[in-house]
């Protein structure tokens, strides 16, 4: 048998091991931090949806104080509040921060709300937005359920009037991506998008996204 030249053994082995160990390290960093951001965004969407669904208690996401709470919940996702003082902001502000939260109130225009069908409601038998508020940076991501035009959104409260959600095409919410939902009442949707973690070659996730519907 041939005896290999075993000089420089450790260094060679180290060199052979290095790619593996580096993969493990960088993969852990990428996947790990990416998953952490993912977990944070899941909880942010869920907490926001719970608070929003209870808006009966005066929870108003257009105001600074409420947005502050979301900023705390978002942790290191980089969500920044966009309202200030007592001035509400329902559209968010482009360029501020690295995360965005969308809250939407949707309902289904069925027979009970549009008894005359398409004659009175152009959006008959569609899900529509009755309210939309954006917190943070809308350039990070747009809502995965649809974007009602800014002209039909009340800039103080974020509500959309009955006439508009019954007839304006941009008020239609795209709920096809989720399983069928019961149509009898308002649904409260919260979506959160934050920065992902990308380690070239090992993990690529430019954004992390989650939604919750209550």
């Amino acid at each position: 048998m041939t005896r290999k030249n075993s000089r420089g053994n450790s260094a060679l082995e180290f060199a052979l091991l290095l790619p593996f160990m580096t993969t493990l390290l960088l993969g852990t960093i990428g996947a790990g931090f990416g998953l952490l951001h993912n977990l944070e965004v899941i909880q942010l969407a869920r907490d926001t949806a719970r608070l929003y669904a209870k808006q009966a208690q005066n929870i108003n996401f257009a105001l600074q104080g409420t947005q502050d709470i979301l900023v705390t919940l978002a942790g290191d996702l980089g969500l920044q509040q966009t309202a200030s003082g007592t001035t509400p902001n329902v559209f968010g502000t482009a360029g501020t921060g690295t995360a965005v939260v969308y809250v939407s109130e949707v309902l289904y225009l069925g027979q009970n709300l549009c008894p005359n069908g398409t004659a009175s409601c152009a959006n008959y038998e569609h899900w529509v937005f009755a309210q939309r508020i954006v917190i943070g940076n809308p350039s990070v991501d747009s809502s995965h359920f649809g974007s009602p035009s800014a002209s039909i959104i009340n800039s103080t409260t974020g509500t959309i009037t009955t006439a508009n959600y019954e007839n304006n095409a941009t008020a239609i919410a795209n709920m096809t991506g989720v399983a069928a939902l019961p149509t009898g009442a308002y649904l409260y949707v919260a979506e959160a998008t934050g920065p992902g973690v990308s380690v070239p070659g090992f993990w690529n996730s430019p954004k992390v996204y989650s939604y919750a519907i209550f």
Binding site: F33, Q57, Q67, T72
Partner: protein, 189 residues
Amino acid sequence: MTTTKLEAVRKTRRALRAHRRKGQEVIEFTLIMLPLFGITFLTLDIAWAIFSKATLQWAVRDAVRYGVTVTAAQAGAGGLTTAVKLKAAQLSLGLLSGTSGADNTDSHLQVHFYEPNATTGVTDVTADAGANDPGNILQLSVNNYQMFKLLPLFYSWNQAPDTGKITISVASADIIEYSNDVPAEGPAP
């Protein structure tokens, strides 16, 4: 078997080479030791940091959910803040100290109460009476939880290594549910 002269020479040379190899090996080991250990411990550190943050994040969420639905009878004598912190400590897999007995007020854990209002959004009512009214927001946060690093970071030869701790902060919030058996607030959050 008889060893030939050639083999005897080889043995000697081998012995000498082995002797040299051993020496070489120690030198090589010294050379690769730093990066080898460094990468290993760094991976461990990072994995542990990820595990800690994920566990704390999850523990805080579940504790808040418990806190908004718990009744006075379930919360016990300590009140709401105590019950919530105890729950978070129990769920944290040992990361938060004081999982039993009276020492369950880990100073990293903080409870805040916010009352929604129509003009500024929310008011911090943590210090006020009625903070735990149904309809108020309960927020539980872990602030600056300190984590030791296994591996101090060497940034340059002439600077002291960074032995600082990793700090982790997480938070979760929810609205206190209505009930006719809301627990008392408990000691200062």
